[in-house]
């Protein structure tokens, strides 16, 4: 691809991508835009219902447990750990992409492995959180938590929580699967043969998007 970009280059005259990226990468961006609207619709419907409710459960009351800490009151601590894990796995993903630019097969494999481990740790955390909430009596259609003002809460809170974090968790799961597929190809030497590691970049874009969505889920469910 011609990448000798000059200020005078006429991007829309044909002959090269007007976006200066390959078809596959551009389509990954467009897929992510559509996915952003799916998550946006879910989070905005959550916001709408919350705005239409006179009261709502306090996240600091609901999410206050930490594995192995019994009944200690630790709001936000566990979810901060989950956020840290996901940001960290985003960093290892960028490092894998970076190593791909250098055509360093060993480093790509190393950083992809760390990214997969990070994703698996995040999923394990989420599994623990869901199990814990389930044992407290929370599930789709069941809400044991009271509103801030002491009134009985509807099941809107738990329905939205499990649906949206579940949909995000599903994205993390498919991200981990994609990373494993890419790692297998890296080890097989597929990209070495192809001459570039662009597949790592495409899956990287998806992985960062999953991190991006978590930033919004974290704010909407745990902070606000």
């Amino acid at each position: 691809m011609d990448t000798a970009v000059t200020a005078k280059k006429k991007w829309w005259d044909g002959g090269y991508s007007p976006f200066n990226v390959s078809y596959g990468k551009l389509m990954m961006w467009y897929f992510l835009i559509s996915d952003a609207f799916t998550f946006g619709a879910l989070l905005i419907s959550y916001g709408t219902i919350r705005f239409s409710s006179t009261s709502w459960p306090d996240p600091n009351e609901v999410f206050r447990s930490f594995p192995g800490m019994g009944h200690a009151n630790l709001p936000l601590v566990f979810v901060s750990l989950m956020t840290f894990i996901l940001i960290m796995s985003s960093v290892t993903m960028v490092l894998a992409v970076h190593a791909g630019h250098m055509r360093d097969k060993k480093a790509v494999a190393k950083w992809l492995t760390w990214t997969i481990i990070g994703g698996a740790c995040f999923l394990a955390c989420q599994a623990w959180e869901w199990t814990h909430l389930y044992h407290e009596g929370a599930w789709w259609g069941r809400n044991p938590f009271h509103n801030v003002d002491g009134t009985l809460a509807s099941t809107n809170f738990t329905n939205f929580f499990f649906t949206i974090t579940g949909f995000h968790g599903l994205h993390v799961t498919s991200g981990v699967v994609l990373n494993i597929v890419i790692l297998a190809n890296v080890l097989k030497g597929t990209y070495e043969e192809r001459g570039h590691y662009e597949m790592v970049e495409k899956v990287g874009l998806y992985w960062h998007f999953v991190d991006l969505v978590w930033v919004f889920v974290f704010t909407c469910f745990y902070l606000l």
Partner: protein
């Protein structure tokens, strides 16, 4: 494509790795500030809930900017790509305002029209009809 990347990669190996870690520390710091403010509010009641929520929303957008611009590398792409990705997302501005306004209005209607609520507000048009 690989030509530019390898050329660029070798020349800026250290600086781009440094940039990645810098972005990581920024994201971590912003998250820690958010959690810190949440704890401050729990302990002291300051800052007020409204102010705190405003700060959380702004800091979330800051984090989103760093992830998209640095990790997803959009900041270094050409303008055509940046626009094709970001312009459709402007719909969210209308999307969010319209739906949250709707939710809030629904809450107010529910409160005002609850059985047993004095109905002065809704009575006025009915009286107008009576004069005819």
């Amino acid at each position: 494509m690989e030509h530019t990347h390898t050329a660029e990669g070798h020349a800026h190996h250290d600086s781009s790795t440094k940039k990645i870690w810098k972005t990581f520390w920024i994201l971590l710091a912003v998250t820690m500030v958010e959690v810190g403010l949440a704890f401050l509010h729990l302990e002291t009641g300051f800052p007020s809930r409204v102010l705190l929520n405003g700060v959380f929303v702004i800091l979330t957008v800051v984090k989103a900017f760093y992830i998209v611009s640095e990790f997803m590398h959009l900041g270094s792409e050409i303008k055509n790509l940046i626009y094709t990705v970001l312009l459709p997302l402007l719909l969210f501005i209308w999307f969010i305002i319209a739906f949250l306004y709707e939710g809030n209005s629904w809450k107010n209607l529910n409160r005002d029209l609850k059985p047993g609520t004095p109905i002065e507000a809704v009575k006025a048009p009915a009286e107008g009809h009576g004069h005819h």
